[in-house]
Amino acid sequence: MKENLYKYILGIADNSLILGQRLGELTGHGPSLETDIACTNLSLDLLGQVRSYYQYAAKILGNGKTEDDIAMLRLEHEYLNVLLVEQPNTDFAYSMGRQFLFDVYHFLFLNELQKSTDITLSAIAIKSIKEVSYHQRFSSDWIKRLGDGTEESHQKMQTAIDDLWTYTDELFRQTEADIAMVTEGVGVDVTKLKDTYYKKVAEVLEEATLKIPESKYFQKGGKHGIHTEHMGYLLADLQYMQRTYPNMEW
């Protein structure tokens, strides 16, 4: 089995899975019907992409495991998503902040992944990038609305960005599998995206009249399967049916 490729795919797909799950929690509970539709749509797009990735991963595993086994039957430390995407929906500013800080990265990432020598990954990237381009526009717009809206919304948006900032650095860290895949021309060298990312993020934050956090302290761990305390509860729900009713079709 191509272990590095398998892990590399998980690293990509788990981000979308966990973020899609978080977005799914918002459905029916958002500030307006329009935002409910939009957030549900983000979740839908991400989970659609996830299916393509996991189907490919299942093929690589080649042991009869399905996309759902991969999505819902791993142990917590086997999920390789970054800590950013598992952060809770504390309020709408956090949800949009999390989305924005991920979308900017996601777009840059997929843009490069289109050039992957792995044709399946490249095809998924090409198919997904339009969706993600829309996501980025949507979340950037909300950062501006909330940042440059009322005093209260400005305050809340700033707090969310300040808190979530600590999880951005991890996006540009590489695992051993990542490095191996970059070497093979399959993976994206995320370290090269870092400057552009912070530049783009800063542009939006500035337009939103928000301060760019100055903290140099960052959290990491997700890419190596070490998650925050939020993750266990998220997985308890995500895995509930598959764990409770094993080996069934739905």
């Binding site: 929690e25 019907l33 749509n41 989970l47 809206g149 009322t150 049916m241």
Partner: protein
């Protein structure tokens, strides 16, 4: 306007409806027509929006990615239905905020079925199959109702609803053909949703108000009891295919009348739920009102931002 004149307009108005012409927002209409439509369309819109909650309860726990995606898409459709039904309602001169206010204060109703809990995954199947099934029977005639914006909204709604119904039935089919646990889950869902679904078609004709007027305006084409019979006759064979048992010992085919006889509905339960004492009435309202209140600062911000942008544009023009 004199009384005579109004009578004249009313006569013309009723004649147009009788000729199957559509009434459009700018047309003259009797106040009672307007009020009745505001009530019914908003109630329908509220039902779509509140209806997102019981299904939303299973998004994070859907048993497969395929089902999770389909469930999200379905709920998104419902939000969309809410959106264009509110729009249709707004053409009658009422704002969406007013309509929300009516919902949140308890003045406006929504379909009582959404006051039942979704306890298992099979409820996603039962809701699609039974609840959407009953809804379609209620709604298909509305595609030809007299008020144009409502009729057009309903065409779109019905198309999507029937897709949802098939999807729900397919969930049930998979469960019914699955393991014993899955089959039990499906049967249990049918047991819990059957009677509330029958109640969705409304009180018996004897207890039903507004019927005559609604018939004339084509807001209604058949009586509640006729619709209920239609639903039962259509659903029983579907249950047979699933191999599930409808929880009604009195249910049996009546060769003579060519349809099913069925047991007595517990109308006490129906009125209890309608009056706000169902299993989830409080939870549903808490969820809606909570979302609305928690979202206030967001909506305010969006408004403030839009105004700022507008001013900036005006400055640029100057």
């Amino acid at each position: 306007m004199g009384e005579e004149q109004i009578k004249n307009l009313e006569a013309q108005f009723e004649a147009r409806i009788a000729r199957d012409e559509k009434i459009e927002p700018k047309d003259w209409m009797p106040e009672k027509y307007r009020q009745t439509h505001i009530r019914q369309i908003s109630q329908h819109a509220h039902s779509e929006v509140v209806g997102m909650l019981p299904e939303g309860n299973w998004i994070t726990r859907a048993p497969s990615l395929r089902r999770k995606v389909a469930l999200l898409a379905k709920i998104q459709d419902e939000a969309g239905h809410g959106l264009y039904l509110y729009s249709a309602c707004e053409t009658l001169g009422v704002s969406r905020d007013e309509l929300y206010e009516q919902l949140h204060s308890g003045k406006a109703k929504y379909s009582s079925i959404f006051n039942y809990p979704t306890i298992t995954w099979a409820d996603m199947g039962a809701i699609g199959w039974l609840v959407d099934g009953a809804a379609i029977i209620n709604q298909v005639p509305l595609c030809n109702t007299s008020y144009g914006p409502y009729a057009r909204a309903m065409v779109r709604v019905c198309k999507e609803e029937s897709f949802h119904q098939r999807q729900g039935y397919e969930i049930m089919l998979k469960l019914a053909n699955g393991t014993p646990e899955q089959k039990a889950m499906a049967q249990d869902a049918l047991n819990r949703w059957w009677w509330p679904s029958l109640m969705m078609l409304g009180p018996t004709d004897a207890e039903s108000v507004h019927t005559e007027q609604s018939m004339k305006w084509k807001l209604k084409r058949k009586s509640n009891d006729e619709l209920r019979q239609q639903f039962i006759d259509q659903t029983v064979p579907q249950a047979d295919i699933l191999g599930l048992t409808i929880p009604d010992p009195d249910l049996k085919w009546n060769e003579e009348k060519g349809s099913y006889d069925f047991g007595e509905i517990d109308w006490d339960e129906f009125w209890q739920v309608v009056k706000g004492h169902g299993p989830c009435n409080k939870e549903r309202m808490k969820a809606r009102v909570g979302a609305w209140e928690r979202g206030e600062w967001v909506r305010d911000a969006a408004m403030a931002y839009a105004e700022k942008q507008q001013k900036r544009k005006e400055k640029q023009v100057v």
